[in-house]
Amino acid sequence: MEDVICTFCGSVCDDGEFDLEKKKIKKFCKLGSSKFAEKQRIKAPMIDGKEVSYEEAIDKAVEILVNAKKPLLYGWASTANEAIRFGVLLAEKLGGVYDQCASVCHAPGTLAVIEEGLPGATLGSIKNRADVVIFWGSNPAEAHPRHGLRYSISAKGLLVKDRKQRKVIVVDVRPTKTAKMADVFIQIKPGFDYAIISALRAIISGSADVVPNEVGGVLKERLVELADIMKKAKYGVIFYGLGVTQSRGRDRNIENAIKLIQLLNRTTRWVIWPMRGHYNVVGAGEVPAWEVGYQYAIDFSRGYARFSPAEFSAVEVLKRRDCDAALIIASDPVAHFPMSAVKHLKQIPVIQIDPYPNMTTLLAKIVIPSAVYGIEAEGTAYRMDCIPLRVKKIIDTNYWTDEKILEEILKRVEKLKG
């Protein structure tokens, strides 16, 4: 089978070849290959560790959800839009909180978009045109292994034909694998992204004299060089990663970077884009945006959507003990949240929907196994640049899809709630 679409990372490579007999994927990277490899699965739906039918598990889940004063519905980054849509409708119907993995990943980028917008481009546009590529706090060699080949570092584009015609720059606090592939590596002091971006803006806009000799561990002359490369680029791109979203400054770092891009566009072309992690974390934000108005950290307790990451992001909700039940789908907060947030998950009934057992399974009251999108189920996903792709079903399964499980839950909740 050709043109198979990978449902691992935000690159969503769509050129895989799946050998149906050997059940092996070709062309994909280590991450993609692991996605398509056979793994331990949750065998059957469970309540308190006891195997039950899908119907029984769903009935019990519904009972917990409708009786909750504020259920948290979290995850969504590794499932299809069709499932996400039912999830958003369910959160609205329940008067709960919808939050998705971006809130511990790239959501600060969304806060920056609110402040300054998002001057961006699709990955195809970037591979065709970008003669300068900056990875700022991002490390595709480990997180998006084929990104460089398909879209950025060595991609063969229309105007920029190969690696030789492209300058690759890495800005990071450590010499990452990606840094080793770069023409220029600028090592900065952790927590100084904002200051360095401010300095670059000053240099580019003619206020270089104000900038001190060293900013964030980088000598001014190196910043002047970098500013010069940026100004001379015909079409440049900053791909930013968790290095800026998860460290000091978070959204303010990105906001500042967007202001830098705005400035550069006065004389040449520059775009900026987040290196989104999960294959459909973009869908997990886009679907609620059109259904209820916001991308994440959405509270429905008043019967309509309200947005406030300071209150309604999953980590804040859990740390404040502001939910009394949780539905966790397609993610593993127990592994990926700070301990102080996990603590509350241990106190409340947790319903988990996932193909694979993970740390959240260990504390979930109800576990509902599901089919894997892109392998066992078809559905829509948005690549990191918001390009929609229809991921494929390539083998049969008896597992229900997330879409079907959630539709069933929603139907029953609607019946109970009227």
């Binding site: 004063k69 401010s198 202001k259």
Partner: protein, 235 residues
């Protein structure tokens, strides 16, 4: 006719109660009927709180731990609120007048886009004090916020007037995109004044200066990236 409101129990999830001194003008029974949100349930205030009358001022006395109660004093225009304990998020949001005294700590989003009045926090405050709410262009425009303890990050973002005084330390990114008004920090803080256009930030302790401010007689002036005339100085 001050009204005294006391939580009856520990709240399983946060409560949203836009309590303002206007309530003091109502009878105890009416106050008990005031609608508050307990998770996704709309309930009467009296279900969650004890209500009593005391004295005759236009004043609310919130007696107990209100750290799980949000939006207290939101949009209030006059009168007084005294919180004997700590208070939840969004306290004094969009406030235009009157006075809120918090004897404990305040959570995030204290005094969002405050346009008048006074907030005093005896303990610590959270993040985003006096800021602009999501998507809005302007933060606090008038009034005064005094925090006797420490404050968190992003204090006074997009502030366009008024005064914030922090007797302890403040967090990071103070007065970002500030246009007017005064922030005074008696302790130390992190970055200050990113893209500041105007106003003044006074700091007694240490702070981190961004590379986009010019040293002048007045203090540090900037942010040059926005041709700003904001002033950062120590005292």
């Amino acid at each position: 006719m001050a009204v005294v409101i006391k939580p009856k129990k520990f709240f399983e999830v946060c409560v949203e109660a836009e309590l303002t001194p206007e309530l003091a003008l109502r009878s105890v029974d009416e106050v008990k009927k005031f609608k508050v949100y307990y998770g996704n349930k709309v309930v009467e205030l009296g279900e969650l709180f004890e209500v009593a009358k005391q004295g005759d001022e236009k004043k609310l006395i919130l007696d107990g731990d209100f750290s799980r109660v949000k939006w207290i004093g939101a949009r209030m225009v006059d009168g007084e609120i005294v919180v004997k304990g700590s208070v939840g998020a969004n306290c004094g949001a969009f406030m235009r007048g009157g006075k809120i005294t918090i004897e404990g700590n305040a959570d995030d989003w204290l005094g969002i886009e405050m346009a008048g009045g006074e907030i005093i926090v005896k303990g610590n405050a959270g993040n985003l004090v006096g800021c602009a709410y999501y998507g809005d262009a302007v933060g606090m425009t008038a009034g005064k916020i005094i925090i006797e303890g420490n404050a968190g990050n992003y204090v006074g973002e997009k502030m366009n007037g008024g005064e914030i005084v922090i007797k302890g330390n403040a967090g990071d990114f103070i007065g970002t995109e500030m246009r007017a008004g005064v922030i005074e920090i008696h302790g130390s803080c992190g970055f200050v004044g990113g893209d500041m256009r105007g106003g003044e930030i006074r700091i007694k302790g240490s702070f981190e200066l961004l590379p986009t401010f010019k040293k002048t007689e007045k203090g540090w002036v900037g942010d040059v990236n926005v041709k700003g005339e904001g002033v950062i100085k120590t005292f």
